[in-house]
């Protein structure tokens, strides 16, 4: 385990180990929790989940004449191609989170009213909670997990969010960053007022708006340069 910038702070391991619980040493527990959680995070980044994969890429992509329990779609997420067998009612958000285990995109309202679920679909910012997963068939999705390589440098927007403290609790942050990147790449970051307007689709209840605008102003020229 390493420290410093590479360290992953205490987060919730979902595979609680009895060995941890029995340890009488409170801080030894902490060390074990962190190690486990770092493994979970690394595992998430590295593997393609096999849950929901069908072997047959020609599998039915419509439900025919009957309400089907599943429908097959092909989806490229952060550069990796998946064939998924989904409930036709499933949103892209729930497919990303529950099927692919990419929990960076968040559910804040599930009705397109807060922006926490923002991802890029074919390079454009969209709300994954209001995108039926079937509509992403054959298309490219980028989530916060795909914005920068797992062990590499941060995207300039991510770094700018850190530098300008454009976040507090962090729940809306992935959506904010994806929307911020889209704001710049879609040509709407030409002035602070324009940034405020175009970032108004992402609610931050912690009120980090001032930092968010500053971060975007900082990152925009860096993005354009690279």
């Amino acid at each position: 385990m390493s420290y410093g910038r590479q360290s992953v702070q205490q987060t919730a391991p979902f595979l609680s180990s009895p060995a941890i619980a029995d340890s009488g040493d409170l801080v030894a527990r902490a060390v074990a929790i962190l190690a486990e959680e770092a493994d979970t995070w690394r595992a998430r980044q590295a593997t393609t989940r096999t849950f929901g994969v069908t072997g047959d890429p020609k599998a039915q992509s419509t439900t025919g004449g009957h309400p089907a329990h599943t429908i097959s779609i092909r989806l490229t997420v952060n550069g990796t191609s998946h064939v998924l067998s989904l409930d036709p009612r499933s949103s892209l958000l729930d497919a990303l989170r529950e099927v692919l285990g990419l929990t960076g995109a968040k559910k804040g309202c599930d009705h397109g009213q807060c922006g926490a679920c923002t991802v890029h679909l074919d390079g454009r910012g969209v709300l994954s909670c209001l995108t039926p997963a079937v509509q992403a068939d054959g298309r490219h999705v980028t989530t916060i997990e795909g914005l920068s390589p797992p062990a590499g440098d941060l995207h300039p927007m991510q770094q700018a969010f850190i530098d300008h403290d454009a976040l507090q609790c962090g729940y809306c942050t992935p959506g904010q960053i994806m929307a911020a990147v889209a704001c710049v790449s879609e040509g709407h970051a030409t002035s602070p007022d324009q940034i405020r307007e175009y970032m108004s689709g992402n609610i931050c209840r912690c009120g980090a708006y001032v930092g968010i605008v500053a971060a975007i102003q900082d990152a925009a020229p860096k993005m354009r340069r690279s």
């Binding site: 702070q9 987060t11 409930d87 804040g108 942050t173 108004s200 209840r205 009120g207 001032v210």
Partner: protein, 732 residues
């Protein structure tokens, strides 16, 4: 310990947050998890006569349906403010009684989220209904004096001198009534529970501000022992008070998880959250303020009617702060409950202070105009160093400096006092308003365990919760400075009942409770290291000393508590019982203070109100983490703008509940609503209060913003709007 201010440093968990690497409660995506959804009551009050779950059961993939008929042996965990652990004493689904619209009547568990939601919508219920009273003015609402209830002991009426006589005799008298609408916290994170039983132990991942309270709430509800329950909540996606107690769904999910022997996830939809967690109650105030012609405030009477539920009395503490904003020798506060058919309200950021200061500070502005005195000067003239109620000295009060610094930075001296006298080029009316705020400083007991390792790691295990206020960053900053190690090497294990007893984090007491303990633990480590290796160079890191002495690690434990508290309080934390003290301590009284100066621009015809700039100066003692503290203040200002101009939960008396229960209709500020917010800190430590000199910040940052806005609106329009939120229709 250096007494110097702390330098700017990045938020310690920002790196993980910008990558989406932080896992919140619902971020459990294991493939075999089951999903749950709630069915809710559609009547405002009455009883479930029957539940028809046949269609729901017949839907594909349904594993379990729980109702009051089969919930089994579940007890209420009681209301936290009455010695229990829940946000209300009513645990849904124990009985068929319906106390409010939106109360859960069934929990459906299925293989997938879509199936659970589908089946929950197929649950049918028949009801018998009773008349419901859901607003302060409803005929069936019951009004009772807090002083006539058992709460009087803990929250006695605030009385000093003879306010009624002094007011009647005062040469200048202000008498005004104010209302604030009910409001909802709406943190971005949806309330969610992941529960599973492993080897007889209940493990719950749920974002909470009170991991110990949640644990003991489950213990009480399910008849368990504390060692059989773990609560894991390392990050909270916004708290603001909403997560201060056990919510209504945790017990239900735990029962279902036990029945099925599987992990179950329930994410409560936004619209259901409006009805199934606490909220800021509707309030009516009357403030009477008496002064002499020089502007010395002689008397104040503050009377409040505050909404509560039928089943719980949510304590009212408005007068505790309005009595202490200034040195007013004659004060009388009276608080009454109005019992309505709603879920129990609770603490929503600056729960009493925001409303109380709104009412009083608007009156002070009226007083200033009545006397023709500058509003800043009038406030400065009524400053104090003593608490008017207890007569004890204030341990620190830099409010005058806040006002002076704020006024200077804002350019207040250029203000033309006459309303509607300042215009912008586009014809907008410019309004400049000022108001102050105060927030009580509490301290909760803390037990800190600090370990340093030969690899250079520093681990601190302590009871507190990170909800974006930056406690992880403050802990890292304080400990790293003491030990001379990089902040990134300091890892906090918090929000986790496996690590350390977890007292509730609320009331802005987190920093004042955790940081002194952390610093004292670091001091203890240094002392121990010195004893270990007294002869080595003074500037070695703990890791270097350990290496030289051939030791793998070193650990200390430290306990801290509020001035005047007995040692018994440490047992209370482990029992999940609220144990904070303050703001009145044996020898002093402690508050944080704010001064907010606001510029509004009111469009001449359509009367939209914009806030291009705010200057906020805060006295919160020593600032441990300047960057996150400044963000906290900006967040508080955004909340103040929302409270003053945007947020209201609509109640239709025919249906009960809240009509605008989503984020489109419940209007919170968006990015385009916010302009420039300048923040400054006095940053003078209060070492009487605690060894780190820190006071609270999270809520004082909001207190005073709403009246500053209302006063600015008056300056721009000549209209006093005394009901929040202020909207276009009040200014047309």
């Amino acid at each position: 310990m250096s007494d110097a201010p702390f330098p700017d440093a990045p938020r310690i968990d920002a790196y993980d947050k910008v990558r989406g690497a932080v896992l919140f409660g619902a971020d459990d995506a294991r493939p075999d998890i089951l999903h749950a959804a709630l069915a809710i009551a559609t009547i405002p009050k009455g009883r479930v006569i029957s539940i028809d779950a046949r269609a729901a059961s017949a839907a594909p993939g349904i594993r379990l349906i729980l109702t009051h008929e089969n919930l089994g042996h579940v007890k209420s965990a009681g209301f936290l403010m009455a010695g229990g652990h829940g946000f209300q004493s009513l645990q849904p689904m124990i009985s068929p009684a319906i106390a409010y619209r939106g109360q859960p009547i069934a929990l459906v568990v299925a293989d997938t989220l879509e199936k659970a939601i589908e089946a929950a919508a197929l649950i049918q219920a028949t009801y018998s209904t009773e008349p419901a009273s859901v607003t302060l003015d409803a005929p069936g609402a019951e009004t009772i004096n807090q002083a006539d209830t058992p709460l009087e002991k803990r929250f006695p009426e605030i009385i000093a001198g003879d306010a009624d006589r002094a007011f009647a005799a005062a040469p200048v008298r202000i008498d005004a009534c104010f209302t604030t609408a009910p409001q909802h916290h709406n943190p971005m994170e949806l309330i969610a529970t992941v529960a599973e039983w492993k080897d007889g132990k209940l493990i719950v991942h749920e974002s909470t501000q009170n991991a110990e309270g949640l644990r003991h709430g489950l213990v009480a509800a399910l008849g368990l022992t504390p060692d059989r329950v773990e609560i894991i909540s390392p990050y909270v996606g916004g708290g603001f008070g909403q997560k201060y107690a056990m919510q209504m769904q945790t017990v239900l999910v735990a029962v279902a998880a036990q029945r099925l022997g599987r992990a179950i996830k329930l994410v409560v939809p936004r619209t259901q959250i409006f009805h199934d967690s606490s909220f800021r109650p509707a309030i009516r105030h009357r403030v009477r303020l008496g002064a002499d012609r020089s502007g010395n405030m002689l008397a104040a009477i503050h009377e409040v009617d505050a909404q509560t539920s039928r089943h719980d009395l949510f304590p009212a503490q408005y007068a505790a702060v309005s009595s202490r904003l200034y040195g007013i020798k004659n004060f009388r506060g009276r608080e009454r409950f109005v019992r309505t058919d709603v879920q129990t309200p609770g603490y929503m950021r600056a729960p009493f202070e925001h409303a109380a200061c709104f009412a009083l500070e608007c009156c002070v502005d009226e007083l200033a105009y009545g006397l023709g005195r500058d509003p800043v000067a009038l406030r400065l003239a009524n400053d104090t160093t003593t608490d008017a109620i207890s007569k004890l000295p204030l341990s620190s009060r830099h409010l005058a400096e806040c006002l002076r610094r704020g006024a200077e930075r804002f350019g207040w001296s250029k203000r033309i006092m006459t309303p509607q006298s300042m215009r912008a080029d586009d014809g907008s009316f410019i309004g400049w308003g000022v108001a102050i705020g105060a927030y009580p400083c509490f301290i909760a007991p803390a037990m800190a365990r600090l370990r340093v390792t030969v690899e250079g790691g520093v681990f601190i295990s302590i009871g507190t919760h990170e909800m974006g206020q930056g406690i992880r960053t403050a802990l890292a900053g304080a400990v790293s400075r003491k030990l001379g190690v990089p902040a990134a090497n300091v890892v906090a294990v918090i929000g986790d009942t496996r690590a350390s007893p977890q007292h509730m984090t609320a009331g802005s007491w987190g920093t004042a409770s955790a940081i002194p303990a952390a610093i004292e633990a670091a001091d203890a480590i240094l002392e121990t290291l010195t004893k270990l290796s007294p002869s080595g160079p003074a500037d070695r890191t703990p890791a270097e000393i350990l290496k030289a002495e051939g030791r793998a690690s070193l650990e200390v434990e430290v306990r801290t508590k509020a001035p005047g508290q007995p040692d018994e309080v440490y047992g209370r934390i482990a029992a999940g019982q609220l144990s904070f003290a303050g703001p009145v301590y044996p020898e002093f009284v402690t508050f944080s203070y704010s001064a907010h100066l606001v510029e509004v621009r009111v469009e001449p015809t359509t009367r939209r109100v914009r806030i291009p700039r705010v200057v906020s100066v805060i006295d919160c003692g020593r600032v441990i983490s300047p960057r996150t503290a400044a963000s906290q203040v900006r967040g508080g200002v955004v909340w103040g703008i929302g409270a003053a101009l945007r947020e209201a939960s609509d109640v239709d008396p025919r249906y009960g509940g809240f009509l605008n229960s989503d984020l489109a209709e419940y209007v919170v500020p968006v990015n385009a609503d916010i302009g420039c917010i300048e923040v400054e800190f006095i940053d003078k430590p209060d070492f009487k209060f605690n060894s780190a000199g820190v006071k609270g910040l999270g809520e004082i940052s909001m207190v005073g913003v709403a009246p500053a806005i209302a006063n600015a609106v008056y300056h721009a329009t000549g209209r006093r709007v005394r009901n929040l939120p202020i909207r276009i229709e009040h200014l047309l």
